[in-house]
Amino acid sequence: MTALSILNGHVIDPANNIDTQYDIHINNGKIIALGAPPQGFSAQRILNASNRIVCPGLIDLRAAMREPGLEHIATIASETRAAASAGITTLCCPPDTTPIIDTPAVANLIRYQANQAGFARVLPLGALTQSLEGEQISEMIALKEAGCIGVSNALTPVTNTLVMRRAMEYAATYDLTVFLHAEDFWLRNDGCVHEGAMSTRYGLPGIPEAAETVAVARDLALIEQTGVRAHFCGISTGRAVRMIGRAQHDGVNVSTDVTAHHLHLDEVDASKFNSMCHVRPPLRTKRDQNGLRMGLKQGIISAICSDHQPHNADAKLAPFSATAHGISSLETLLPLALKLVSETGLLSLPEVIANLTHKPGKILGIEAGTLSIGQAADVCIFDPEHEWIFSESAVQSQGLNSPFLGWELKGRVLHTILGGKVVFELDQ
């Protein structure tokens, strides 16, 4: 392990209320000092971070890496490498891989592959029900012991309310967080875009707002009844934000996140059959987008995530409803989040960074996303003023499916450090 010093950077560590210039010293993979170096410390490598922001490595609550099962599309190595280039040091991976993460072997495989690649920490979510079929609860304890950070049924609905209740009770017994995708199976029907003026205009099957709010209402009732710690993944409607906000106010142990693209795109972007904007849940109205932004501002939503979904080109080459949903979004996570500071003034820079670091860390129940002394040295160094065009040649992920290609972005990661080791360095 190298002894490393990051000098003259503007350190933002929201968990410790640090927002000032500091030097950071790292040894044996851990942060050992902020400010003056410890006596006798001599850095083998020095990174000059003047005019740069130095913050904890980002924590992304949801990123599919296609491994195991679809390695021809992307791998844990390729996507964690892309993550490192975007300042992300911890990723949470949903259980809908092939095979599904419902046995310890699959969880172990994912962690092993991530360790081998060495670009980022990958925390798998275990399946909530066996084969994600929504019928029988999974062996949650075995999954937890194999390193699963929580349980989830991914995008497959648990339509049987009794099964959901039992799954939550079981998870609550062993202090596992349940990650929920709020989408009513029946109301979603065959929808592929938000049900509204755009779906009507283009004749695309719509997904009504109630597909989300009905599911949120049901699950909130069960969360309250069972006392489980729960997290709603990728909320898309303003109304759901308010429902979750009310539940939090009433003391229910529930959190939620939003994807960076739902904060910047809306239903109009999916018009003209733009399959790059085919996402799930769908992009909704400007009003919903404002509701999501307000939810973030008020702290109801406590994390911004990528919901990374890399695809090969063919997956988006079909009539809109026949295309695969999802955006390759690791590399736009930080710049899109920073837009909330620079363009909308919605959040301060430390607030945005909190939503990308210690707050998602708290949701996962891990001690990460801070620059506290003694912590593993996961650090992101970025230039907040660096303007660049997000072009195909800039994309590190195997998935080029992004509606943001061609956008001018501001803010670029220059160095990413994982456990004291520089895992990414921008060629300049």
């Binding site: 004749g203 009504p208 109009v268 059959f273 080459l317 956008w407």
Partner: protein, 332 residues
């Protein structure tokens, strides 16, 4: 920076895929994005073709030597036949491909099917597909010398049907500015209704109404520039044109209405209900009719019905669209 401004409904955009770089019609995919003048040009051209069937030789040589492929991914009799007739009257060679039973069932992708047909030196694809946006998608990916005509895509558009309806209305009623038109039935699933509404609004129709229960009206339908009615008689009061839609059983899912009986009771067109419309109101239907569900036989076969005329006009309108789309590429 490629963020987008809010796109106004039905405005033509400078990058409209339907035109070539000289502003000539290249593809015919939807009414959206076409100005009134373009629609009128098509109707006028169709008018000039309408005498062709009365000639002893029912052909004009406009598309001689051109190959037109009827690419139907979804079943159709009427539309496919009238497209075929229209192409033959323009002297083109026509190939009919029923894709539902061929390539895609062997796992070939839509793009692969397309590239194979391109390799056979086709000049025009007439496309029907079950998914909204399919014709747009195909138009985006064909080589530059090929025109694409949308013969119906999912629930999105059926622009030639809408134009043959406009042709029929114009024949009977003249200018659109004074007209009140009511569209009755399953608006939610109807590509025909979407295209009709766009055509009627573009042509400056005084008032466009839709009449249906809430279950068959799409979300925020008012954004289409129409008036919404749930009572048939109320909606038909004083209208010049009544367009009945087909109740699309094949797309019907879930509890959209309780029974055919109740549907006919509330929304089926009878002489009695029609009596509140203008005395010279015409009755239209894109076909095929479900007699006793959407309308009484007395109305369907009555003096005000122009349903069979619509079919005849379909041929001249399709001749017009094909010949105009094929002009691009000439004189270059």
């Amino acid at each position: 920076m490629s963020t987008r401004d809010d796109i106004p409904l039905f405005a033509s955009s400078p990058t409209n895929i339907q035109f070539d770089n000289k502003g000539r019609l290249r593809h015919f995919l939807s009414i959206e994005g076409l100005k009134k003048k373009v629609l009128c040009d098509i109707l006028d051209t169709a008018e000039s073709f309408s005498s062709v069937p009365q000639q002893s030789i029912k052909k004009v040589p406009l598309l001689r030597g051109k190959t037109i492929v009827n690419l139907f991914f979804e079943n159709s009799t009427r539309t496919r036949t009238t497209f075929e007739l229209a192409a033959k009257r323009l002297s083109a060679d026509v190939i009919n491909l029923n894709i539902t039973t061929s390539a895609t069932s062997k796992g070939e992708s839509l793009l692969d099917t397309l590239h194979n047909l391109e390799a056979m030196h086709s000049d025009m694809f007439i496309v029907r597909h079950a998914q909204s946006g399919a014709a747009h998608f195909i138009a985006q990916h064909v080589s530059p010398n090929i025109s694409v005509i949308n013969a119906g895509d999912g629930q999105h558009a059926h622009p030639t049907q809408a134009l043959l309806d406009m042709f029929t209305i114009r024949r009977h009623k003249g200018e659109f500015g004074a007209l009140k038109v009511a569209i009755v039935g399953d608006i939610l699933h109807s590509r025909v209704a979407r295209s009709q509404i766009q055509a009627l609004t573009t042509l400056g129709t005084n008032e466009v109404r839709i009449i249906a229960p809430k279950t068959l009206i799409p979300a925020h339908a008012e954004t289409l520039g129409i008036h919404i009615y749930h009572d048939l008689k109320e909606g038909l009061r004083g209208v010049d044109v009544v367009i009945m839609l087909r109740l699309q059983y094949e797309r019907m899912q879930g509890a959209l209405f309780p029974s055919e009986h109740e549907y006919f009771h509330l929304f089926g067109l009878t002489e009695e209900k029609l009596s509140v419309a203008k005395t010279d109101a015409i009755v239209m239907h894109p076909g095929p009719i479900n007699r006793g569900v959407e309308m009484d036989s007395a109305v369907a076969d009555g003096v005000r019905s122009v349903i069979l005329e619509q079919v005849t006009h379909g041929i001249s309108v399709r001749m017009a669209v094909m010949s105009m789309a094929m002009q691009q590429g000439e004189n270059e």
